[in-house]
Symmetry: C2
Subunit: 206 residues, 2 copies
Amino acid sequence: MLQELTETRYGKHDYIFREGDPTEYFHIVKEGTVKCVKSTPEGKECTLKMLMPGDLFCCDAAAFDGASHPGSAQPMGDVSILRMKKKSYFEMLRRNPDAAMEVIKYLGNRLNEAQEKTKDLALDRADQRLASLLVDLAARNGIADPNGIRLTVRMTRQDMANMIGITTETTIRIMSKFKRDRLVSGTANRLLIRDLKGLKALASAS
Amino acid sequence: MLQELTETRYGKHDYIFREGDPTEYFHIVKEGTVKCVKSTPEGKECTLKMLMPGDLFCCDAAAFDGASHPGSAQPMGDVSILRMKKKSYFEMLRRNPDAAMEVIKYLGNRLNEAQEKTKDLALDRADQRLASLLVDLAARNGIADPNGIRLTVRMTRQDMANMIGITTETTIRIMSKFKRDRLVSGTANRLLIRDLKGLKALASAS
DNA sequence: CAATAAACATGACATATATCATGTTTATGA
DNA sequence: TCATAAACATGATATATGTCATGTTTATTG
């Protein structure tokens, strides 16, 4: 069975798949970070989710039902992806109730997250959403550092903007303010969360 | 097995459950419309989804994983709800791979929808989001009418506002403009979509 | 039916965020 | 290492939407 699982490596300029491509495979992140992106005809982009090792996606697990990917998947730097034919994966789930239940719980959890994000977009200000994003990434992608929590994924201001539905300029302005307030420091290559509590306070001030 | 499925009726001032309540049951809408709502400490509300007959929710199906409801469920008018103990439901799924696969597809579909909504909130203007909402409701809740499509669910401007993350006043202003442009007519009790194509054009002008 | 509350409507004004422009710093790759 | 592009930064201005205030119309209920 396991020979159906193949591994592929991608670099930051590749696409793992594009919006509209047929959903032939299930994907699992083995190493690195992958972003799920939807874009408009005019080139505006919205990043739905950053996927870390262990996450499955297709794209963004949304295509368990559906014939084509509702968004594209792009690596953030070098990544390694495991792939399995959708048909094989479904057969495996059908034969393995425990695995199916795990997937149900995983999807429930993902739906939950998506709805939390909906609420943030609908009700929070830009600075609160950015603070939420940084808190979330600190937990999922951060490693301890003498001065706080360092994010291992390389994220530009533009990447952040796309994740919270604001412009790059606004993100830069808010990040500059966060820097002045000693909440964060550094830029894409070395982003450091200096005051997690402060960011959490801002994020939940809704 | 079926004796575990109980039916309850609710009126528009009831709660089916509240945010934070333990998730003891799975719910299915039998009759009527239910809204899933998240609210902030200051009383701002965000409606995540309108559930129609056949939809399952817990709340909003997001609690397949999780001990407490991430949002509350409120009837829009009179509704009838079917309920089953969460434990029984999980056991049933474990024994019935076809049902489990159906749930996986359903959740994938719901996640997909949620992400589409995220994109709309992040990238579209208020009038486009309102047009999207009306198009969606026309398909899911509308019945043919000599002058267009009539919505059977009673929805105030405030209800709509909560669904798309804008204020009641802005919703009223946009609806007034839609009325002037002959796209819609009527108020909560008798909402009529007069020009579906026009609304679709507006909605997808992103 | 009258009394009351909810929904709808609209103006004046405030403000968060977008847009456009321009410059500096930092990273990248030949 | 130099040349080029990407990322970061910041000001000026525009604009969509929020906020507050006030009035009318439409439902609801005793």
